[in-house]
Symmetry: C2
Subunit: 95 residues, 2 copies
């Protein structure tokens, strides 16, 4: 079975967590990454790493798993869109 819906990029979701008036520059400073790094994430040009997930969880008061989970679902959906080899299921001895 495949995932029906193109999941949102985590950066897209992150956008909604940022207060309206907060600039990328400010947010990057709080997260202690460069402006560029955060900008890329927000624009879907880079993914959420474990390190970034920890920063986001400290800052936003979430679990890191939320962010990494989103990234995982996104990665998985992307991979499912690629041509895939036909793999014959392993024959297991019945219990």
């Amino acid at each position: 079975m495949s995932r029906m819906h193109n999941p949102a990029h985590p950066g897209e979701v992150l956008r909604e967590w940022l207060p309206e008036e907060m600039t990328v520059t400010q947010a990057a400073k709080e997260l202690q990454v460069s402006r560029v790094t955060l900008s890329k994430v927000l624009n879907g040009k880079a993914g959420i790493t474990a390190s970034m997930a920890l920063r986001l969880s400290s800052w936003l008061g979430t679990t890191p798993d939320v962010w990494l989970g989103m990234q995982t679902q996104w990665d998985l959906w992307q991979a499912e869109q690629q041509p895939r080899p036909k793999i014959r299921p392993l024959e297991r001895l019945p219990v």
Copy 2:
């Protein structure tokens, strides 16, 4: 809060799924990756990618999420062992 226990590397878990008599070479052929690629995963020298998770799920009849989830937990634990910047929680307006 941090994860208490060093989670197993997914490759370690994968080992347990392989039939006793199956060689790395055979398994790699079924998964349609090189011997080296699989060997590295089994020895914890490489992680589980989305593409690999899909191969494993096809072959072993699991969901891909199982494997990617393990990888995520492992990545997270590794990142937690590193020195981390002190990030001040974002002040949210109370509801």
